[in-house]
Structures are given as structure tokens and as C-alpha cells.
């Protein structure tokens, strides 16, 4: 949901269709609702409704189509253009949608994305905080997450990783197994990505969803302090490279790096996931890591099918 031109279809095309940001300039306004079934993690089918944001459509969602739109919603994502000149109207529609959602799907998670952050010139954090406050005030006592995003940097991956995280039933179990696996590989960190979107599903580090707190983890766990944006930057980099590969009609399969400061292996874990193993111990051989990944495959395949059926 969100006003026309706020960037909903652009996001969808970046995250789920492996398109570069430059192509979104060609998108026209979405007419009515575009429904998409995106297979996520193989068996988890996300039913994505991209609701065109022009006033006439919004009015009809809120009246005649109200039940159709707001029934059985798992997550509502409301996109606000940070530079909008009609915040008053945006908020009014948002409040109406919130009411509709509370009426038909009171348990739905709610994400508010303050989008096109790249256009903000003043200190971004201040601008974002101000918007966030405004949105919180408009939301009453509804539980909401407000995230700043731009399709030109990794923030979009972070936001969408958070969103899909609420849909993955066994994220905590996965984290535990990834920790065991990290131990076996002598790895600093192991990260699991969904195959097509390259969104982060889980990682061996304690709280993958609240990455900003990773600074505080240092010392307590012995994990070195790493860049807080590393996961979403990795998603962004790999997605961009996947796109380059597709331009030469090749399909990206795996990556290994032995750089000055760390060793990393990125490879298929299950049919629907990729794993990235980050190692800071220079004595560990890449071949050993690859063998470990091969040995862990079946276990993770089982884990995934168990949890998705239940």
C-alpha cells in the first residue's frame, strides 16, 4: 500500500525480479491490484498484492473492495515517499487502511517504509526520525515498524529481510543450527540467504534482525565487531553480480574469496538457500569449508522441509 509513485512496484521488481534500479524509471502506474505469487524458500509461497496508489483505487479499496483487500493479510507494507508534498493526505489514507486492517486482519504485521531516502539532503537520520515520529503518532496503539529505505542502497534489503523474517516460522531453530555449523567451520559468522531474492533468512550471530546492536555484542561473545550493514550490503552486491552474470547468459553459482582480512565461501546450502561462511582464521582452508557445507546440506534440507510443513 502507499500513494502513487511512492515506489511499491519498483521495490517489488528489485527484490523479487532481479532487475536493476535503473529499469524502474520505465514503470507505469499500477492499475488496480497486481497479484504475484512469489515462491520463497521453495515451499513458502508469498502472495504479494501490489495495490496501485492513485486516489480512485485507494477509495475503492477502502469501500467496495474493503473485505477483499484486508482479509487474510499476513503483513501490510505501507510505503511513504519521503519527499511527498501531500503528507496530510497520505496519512489520512494510511489511517483508513490501518482501520481496515484492524477490522479484518488484526494480527497482521505492519511495516511502514519511508522510501526514497536517497533524495534527502539534510542529515538523513534527523529527517527519518521526524517522519518516524509522525507515523507513530498517526498509528495510535498499533504495533508498527518504521524503516527508512532507498532502492539505491542496501537499506531496501535490510527492510525486506526484516519483513520476510516475520514469515519464517523456524528462524530461531535455523540460527541455532547455523551456530553449530559456524563452530564446526571455525567461522566467525555464517549467514543464510534465500536463493532468488538473496534476502537474509538467518545468521549464526545472535540477533540478525536488530543488526544495529551488533556493536554491543563485542566482548560478550568473542565475535569481532563487524560492519552493521554487512548483511544487506552482501545481498545487494550479490544481486548486482547475479545481474551481471545474467547479461552474459550465465547463472551465478558460487563465490569464494581469500582476501587480506578474511576468507569467505558463498555456496548453495539447500535448493532454496545459499550460505555464506565468514572466517577470520587464516589457517582454515577453503576446501575444508566447502566439504563442511556439503556435509551440512542434508541436515539443512531436512530442517527446512520440517518447519515449512508444520
Amino acid at each position: 500500500m502507499g500513494a502513487s509513485g511512492s515506489g511499491k512496484t519498483s521495490m517489488r521488481s528489485l527484490i523479487f525480479s532481479n532487475n536493476p534500479a535503473s529499469l524502474t524509471a520505465r514503470l507505469g502506474a499500477t492499475i488496480d491490484v497486481e497479484q504475484n505469487h512469489v515462491r520463497f524458500l521453495g515451499d513458502l509461497v508469498l502472495n504479494l498484492w501490489d495495490c496501485g496508489g492513485q486516489d480512485s483505487f485507494m477509495d475503492s479499496y477502502l469501500t467496495t473492495q474493503r473485505a477483499t483487500i484486508f482479509k487474510q493479510v499476513g503483513v501490510m507494507i505501507y510505503v511513504f515517499d519521503v519527499e511527498t508534498r501531500e503528507m496530510g493526505k497520505d496519512l489520512e489514507y494510511y489511517r483508513d487502511c490501518l482501520a481496515g486492517l484492524q477490522q479484518y486482519s488484526p494480527d497482521a504485521a505492519i511495516f511502514l517504509l519511508v522510501h526514497k531516502m536517497d533524495l534527502v539532503r539534510e542529515p538523513r537520520l534527523t529527517a527519518f526520525q521526524r517522519k518516524k515520529q509522525e507515523l507513530q503518532d498517526a498509528s495510535g496503539d498499533a504495533v508498527i515498524s518504521v524503516l527508512g529505505t532507498s532502492m539505491y542502497d542496501e537499506s531496501l534489503y535490510k527492510a525486506w529481510s526484516n519483513i520476510v523474517h516475520t514469515l519464517i516460522p523456524n528462524a530461531a531453530i535455523l540460527t541455532k543450527h547455523l551456530q553449530t555449523f559456524a563452530g564446526a567451520c571455525n567461522a566467525t559468522e555464517v549467514i543464510l540467504f534465500e536463493r532468488t531474492t538473496f534476502l537474509v533468512i538467518a545468521s549464526s550471530s545472535p540477533t540478525p534482525t536488530s543488526l544495529d546492536t551488533s556493536l554491543e555484542l563485542e566482548g560478550t561473545t568473542g565475535i569481532p565487531k563487524l560492519d552493521a550493514k554487512r548483511y544487506e550490503r552482501t545481498s545487494e552486491l550479490i544481486k548486482a553480480f547475479k545481474h551481471s552474470c545474467s547479461r552474459v547468459r550465465e547463472e551465478f553459482r558460487s563465490l569464494e574469496m581469500e582476501l587480506y582480512d578474511f576468507t569467505a565461501v558463498l555456496d548453495e546450502m539447500t535448493r532454496n538457500t545459499y550460505v555464506m561462511v565468514i572466517i577470520h582464521d587464516p589457517t582454515i582452508e577453503i576446501a575444508a569449508v566447502k566439504l563442511n557445507i556439503r556435509l551440512a546440506r542434508r541436515k539443512f534440507e531436512e530442517l527446512q522441509s520440517d518447519s515449512l510443513v508444520s
Binding site: F241, R249, E250, E251, M257, E258
Partner: protein, 341 residues
């Protein structure tokens, strides 16, 4: 609006210290770039053209008309008169603005009109070294064109090419490049033709590796968004690693309890590889793109069959070591010659 950029040749050591072009410091060739506005003339340059090895003219691909072409021709004639050995390059720029067919047609017309005008003036210009390139900043065509310009200035090019020509068949590689990692210009390639799709892929791979390099360092660069505590943490931390790869002392271990051996950056050369599948090929044959750092700033990128990379890794590494030795010797020679100048 024809434009000109002048490349200063690197004849004196004093001037060279100023050179900060595209990260090409202390690679195979030190060079200096002069970026000149459109209204520059040979006179207003203030320096004799004999000091330059190359002139690049930049012309918009949509400028097929009389005026911009005349201005370009005028400058070419003046430059040639002053320095007949100067290398002249024309970048027909902003190519992505046009559709494929128009692009080729406009390029051809610009090329033809400039050549015709020159021959009208004097048949002597037939021998002039004048090269045309299609470029755009929206893909890697600019990198490719710039690389080609650069090649004419690299005296050791034939030796580097020879090393690559030996390297490729040894590991069944259809294509290999020696890249300057920071500017992503290639310094040399083997004799097989350069296909721009492969070249683009290599540029993108380098771009990705450059970004990954600092991403998982234990001491992250301080983001403006993070608060001051990040700085405090890094200084008090017992397990910081060198932020810059050029550090020569052995960094302390990151796992606090038992001291791990660490990479001696003097002897350690980063490497990487990525495997690609060709979905169209029924045999499922896959290709590996390998990256090996050769000197501090040069990296060898090679395409090779994944079977070779996986099953005959020793062979690949042996050839890389051999190649590295060759390149390092050439670079040392060049360094020596330069100091002696």
C-alpha cells in the same frame, strides 16, 4: 562541442608525484591526465603539445553537425602540426542515448566526416594515427576504450601479453586480463579477441570484490549514521586487524584466547573465484572466473573451465606463480628504468 583531454607523458620524475589519476599510481605506467574544457585551444593550453603523448577528444554521439565536427578537425590539425607523433583518440560519447542501429550509424558518420575533412585538407593525414571509440559512462565501454588508449603507452605491453599468451593455453583459459584493480582498466590481455560481455563481467567482478574487501573487517569504517561509540570500541579492542591491506606487520589475532597465526601480508596474495553455470548448455558445463592479485595493484582475471579449476588446482596455482614472477620482474625493470631517467 568537441572536447579535449590531454595526457601528459611521464618524462620527468618531479611532475609525476602529482599524478593521482584513477588510482593508477605506481602501476605499470605512471601517467597524468589533463582535463580541459571545451574552449581550450592549442595556444591556450599553455604547454607545448610535444609534452603530451595522447590527446582524447570527447564528442557527443548526437553531434553530427558541421560546427562540432569542424572544431574537432581544427584541433586535430593544430595538434598534428605541433606534434606529429602524438596519438589522437576520439571518444564518441553518451552512446547509450541512442538505439543500437542509430548508434552504429551515427558513429560511422562521425568517423567518416572527420576523415573526409582531414583528407580534403591534405592527403598527408592518411598516415595520422586517429582512433575512434564508442563510449558511455553507463556501461563499461568507457573503461574498455580507456584501456585501449592506455595500452599504447605501456612499453612493456608485448612482454605482459606474451606472459598471458603462455598462461592461457596452460590452464585452458579462453580469456585472461591483467587489470589495475582500483581503476578497473585492463593493462594487458592475451591475443584472443576481447568480447565486451566478458570484459564487462570482469569489471563487475572487480567492483564486487573491491566492495567485499573491507566489508567483513573486524574494524569497520565509521559510518556517519553510527554514533561515537564505534570509534571508542575500535581503539580499545584487543583484536583489531589492519584496516589497510598495505600494512606489513603481522596483525594481532582476532580470537582472543589462543593466538592464531595470521597472514603475513608481504607474502600473501588475495585470490577469489566465482563459478558460473550456462543454463542454455545441456552438458551443464560451468565456467570459473578466477582472480589472483599479482602485484599490489594488478590482478589477473581468467576465465577457465570449472573442471580445470577444481580438479587441477595445483596446475592453475603453479601457472599463476610463474606469471606473477614474470610480471613482478617487468615491473621492477620499469621502476628501475624510471628512477634512472
Amino acid at each position: 562541442r568537441p572536447r579535449l583531454n590531454g595526457h601528459r607523458s611521464s618524462s620527468d620524475t618531479v611532475e609525476r608525484t602529482k599524478i593521482l589519476l584513477l588510482g593508477l599510481r605506481s602501476t605499470v605506467i605512471p601517467l597524468q591526465i589533463w582535463d580541459c574544457p571545451a574552449n581550450t585551444t592549442v595556444e591556450s593550453l599553455g604547454v607545448p603539445l610535444s609534452q603530451f603523448s595522447t590527446i582524447i577528444f570527447v564528442i557527443d554521439i548526437r553531434d553530427l553537425y558541421n560546427q562540432p565536427i569542424s572544431k574537432l578537425v581544427e584541433f586535430i590539425v593544430a595538434s598534428y602540426a605541433e606534434n606529429p607523433s602524438i596519438i589522437l583518440e576520439v571518444f564518441v560519447h553518451k552512446a547509450e542515448k541512442l538505439q543500437e542501429d542509430d548508434k552504429i550509424e551515427n558513429f560511422r558518420q562521425i568517423h567518416e566526416r572527420v576523415s573526409d575533412r582531414l583528407l580534403d585538407i591534405s592527403p598527408e593525414y592518411e598516415q595520422m594515427q586517429l582512433n575512434f571509440h564508442l563510449t558511455s559512462v553507463y556501461d563499461h565501454s568507457l573503461h574498455e576504450a580507456f584501456s585501449r588508449v592506455l595500452h599504447k603507452l605501456i612499453q612493456s605491453l608485448p612482454f605482459l601479453e606474451e606472459l598471458l599468451n603462455v598462461f592461457c593455453p596452460n590452464i585452458q583459459s579462453p580469456k585472461a586480463f591483467l587489470f589495475d584493480t582500483r581503476s578497473r582498466l585492463y593493462v594487458a590481455t592475451d591475443a584472443s579477441p576481447v568480447d565486451s560481455a566478458t570484459h564487462n563481467l570482469c569489471c563487475d567482478y572487480l567492483l564486487m570484490l573491491n566492495s567485499f574487501g573491507p566489508l567483513y573487517n573486524p574494524t569497520p569504517p565509521i559510518h556517519p549514521a553510527t554514533n561515537g561509540s564505534a570509534t571508542n570500541g575500535s581503539t580499545s579492542s584487543t583484536h583489531s586487524r589492519p584496516a589497510a591491506p598495505s600494512m606489513t606487520s603481522a596483525p594481532p589475532s582476532i580470537h582472543t584466547p589462543q593466538p592464531n597465526p595470521t597472514r603475513h601480508t608481504d607474502f600473501f596474495y588475495p585470490s577469489s573465484s566465482t563459478t558460473l553455470n550456462a543454463p542454455s548448455s545441456p552438458s551443464g558445463a560451468s565456467t570459473t572466473l578466477s582472480y589472483h592479485l599479482i602485484t599490489k595493484h594488478l590482478a589477473l582475471l581468467a576465465l577457465l573451465p570449472s573442471t580445470v579449476y577444481e580438479e587441477r588446482r595445483g596446475l592453475v596455482e603453479y601457472n599463476v606463480v610463474f606469471f606473477r614472477q614474470g610480471v613482478q620482474e617487468i615491473c621492477a625493470e620499469e621502476e628501475f628504468a624510471r628512477v634512472g631517467e
